[in-house]
């Protein structure tokens, strides 16, 4: 129960941080990467604490590796645009 509550607080805080970062910081090359980084943090929390992958850290690491590769390609596409 505490794990779920903690996860929820991180997700809400990271969502708020994403919005304030996007609205409050002038557009910069690192901003997109920071926002995608926050998305990866949220994804990890959901996998770990909502989907219970804290019990299978190797599976979680495998899925997160996929997300990181996806995010790197995404950042490259965003930087190219």
């Amino acid at each position: 129960m505490i794990r779920i509550l903690r996860a929820w607080m991180i997700l809400v805080a990271a969502s708020a941080a994403s919005v304030f970062l996007a609205m409050g910081v002038p557009s910069a090359i690192w901003l997109g990467a920071a926002l995608i980084g926050l998305a990866l943090l949220k994804a990890r929390v959901i996998l770990s604490d909502y989907l219970d992958l804290y019990r299978a850290p190797r599976v979680r690491a495998g899925i997160m590796l996929g997300f990181v590769i996806w995010a790197l390609v995404l950042c490259a596409l965003l930087a190219a645009g």
Binding site: A16, S18, K42, I46, A56, L78
Partner: protein, 182 residues
Amino acid sequence: MPQDRTAPAVGADVQLPHDLMIWVLIVSELLVFCAGLWGFSAVRISDRAGFADAAAYLHPLRAGLGTMILVSSGALAAVGALRMQRRYLLGAALVGAGFLMVKFYEWRDLAAAQISTETHPFFTFYYLLTGFHAAHVVAGMVILAVVAARRRPAEVDAGVAFWHMVDLVWVLLFPVIYLVSA
């Protein structure tokens, strides 16, 4: 020699939470949405200014509120699965309806501005990705209502995992569509 059908699907040292098939579904859905976001970002390369202008029609603050509503619904669903209590599962579905309300107001505003899928490639991807996600939210709400009514542990487990997949997809869509392009 007959195969042992009780053998774990993943390595013996890995205790995979939830049924293997729900993971197959989750990964499949993630692949579809992640490919869609790659497509969105690839098309943006040819018209960055157009994408920025189009993204200005969206409201990051409202989308952020929708994100907080959806992750809160996920927390309720997780508690519902943990305690096997109907009120949390139905509460999760109800809060999910709050997310759809946010989406409804967003789409209504865009429709009032006469923005459709054909207005700009940004909106083609926007409607496709957010519409497909919203369809999953509706499906998830129905699934949560059904598993709450039946309260069978395996069904609750699978239904709640589906709902978390909806959360997971949204936290990836949200920054790319609403924040980065603007």
